[in-house]
Amino acid sequence: MIWDWQYALGVLPSMLRAFVVTLEATLAGFVLAVLVGLLWATLRMAPVRVVARGAFWIVEFVRSTPLLIQLYFLYYVLPEYGVALSPLMIGILALGLHYSCYTAEVYRAGIEAVPAGQWEAARALNLSPASTWLRIILPQALPPTFPMLGNYLIAMFKDTPLLAAITVMEMLQTAKLIGAESFRYLEPLTITGAVFLFVSLIASYAVRRLEVRHAIRR
């Protein structure tokens, strides 16, 4: 038999410890992506044309270039400017910034879906721009975006193995090291794949539930 159960069980504890790192990177990156994405979305709608165009092209550029090079870029360049961060922090930063350019699009779609009458009503009631955004527009624009944001959370989770390239000890890097030590890659890599499949399936089910809930509310 090719598959060695005893070996597989032996490597399981270190794989699960690495899974915690994977989760940390995903969740911290997601928080960053959700916040920075909102910033891009509002900048893109800025009344100053240069700012709006600039934000548009930055988002386009980051979205259409590989996350791996962006990771390397931050990993090698930040220390040159005296910013010393751990590889995990750089990974979180890169993941968060990369996906903020995706969440920005999601927010934009959400904001554009708010009927124009809501803006006019806010102006008629003489609300300040801040309270127009915070009390009128965003409470209506954001909830329909939750399922899409959930999909990007899953996508980010599946992109965390890229952090292995900058030596973060997440699941794939751990599997690789264990494999190199014992010359058996099959079990650790298959376990990694299985964990990803298991978590993604549960998470996609949760996102579908979220979609149904928002569909009913509308």
Partner: protein
């Protein structure tokens, strides 16, 4: 500036060629798999539906990079050792094909049921309805998400650098290690990827336009 380009551009262009091979090869694999699995998931026959479902769920559920490493490092335990370029093309194709299958399936599902009923009323066979009536209407719906998938595939080619294939990212890494000109070198590499993405997007937009125009003439 000129000196920098003279030194770094030729190897980067050589890397870009491998990146293009991966993109084109992966896209062709993905297209075939997406159509097969997308149609398979809608099939009434269980022996077609099941393998298609398992394929789509497995390759969408596990990470592209894990798949790449599994095919490169774990598959040899089953006696199958593939070179890095072929592994890259296969894994990129399998991964994007799984996402593409959903695009194909949902576009077909969005064609109104009346089209099927009209086809049956005209005594057309199921296969004929699918290929002559439904797919031509579903195609324009598939193209915009297919364009996004193509960009994702192109971006994923960078991952193949991690199984030692000297495509664009790998070349940039080698050049960086040799000269330590990190910022301009990576900026140039990112720019090449960005331009490649713009070329692909423009191509997809032309395709979309010609497909809708073609359909417009017929209607």
């Amino acid at each position: 500036m000129i000196e920098f380009l003279q030194m770094h551009l030729p190897p980067l262009v050589a890397g870009l060629r491998v990146t293009l091979q991966l993109t084109v090869g992966g896209a062709i694999c993905a297209l075939v798999l997406a159509v097969l699995a997308g149609l398979g998931r809608r099939s009434r026959r269980r022996w077609l539906r099941w393998p298609a479902n398992v394929y789509v769920e497995v390759f969408r559920g596990t990470s592209a990079m894990v798949q790449l490493f599994w095919f490169y490092f774990a598959l040899p335990f089953f006696g199958v050792s593939l070179p890095a370029l072929l592994t890259g093309v296969i894994v990129l194709g399998l991964n994007s094909g799984a996402y593409g299958a959903e695009v194909v399936r949902s576009a077909i599902d969005h064609v109104p049921r009346g089209q099927w009923e009209a086809g049956r009323a005209l005594n057309m066979s199921e296969a004929r309805i699918m290929f002559r009536v439904v797919l031509p209407q579903a195609l324009p719906m598939m193209l915009p998400p297919a364009g996004n998938l193509l960009i994702e595939l192109m971006k994923n080619t960078a991952l193949v650098s991690l199984i030692t294939l000297s495509e664009l990212t790998f070349t940039a890494q080698v050049q960086r290690a040799a000269t330590l000109e990190t910022v301009p070198l990576f900026a140039l590499t990112l720019l090449i990827y960005f331009l490649l993405a713009q070329v692909l997007l423009t191509g997809m937009r032309h395709l979309e336009r010609s497909v809708t125009r073609h359909r417009g003439q017929r209607a």
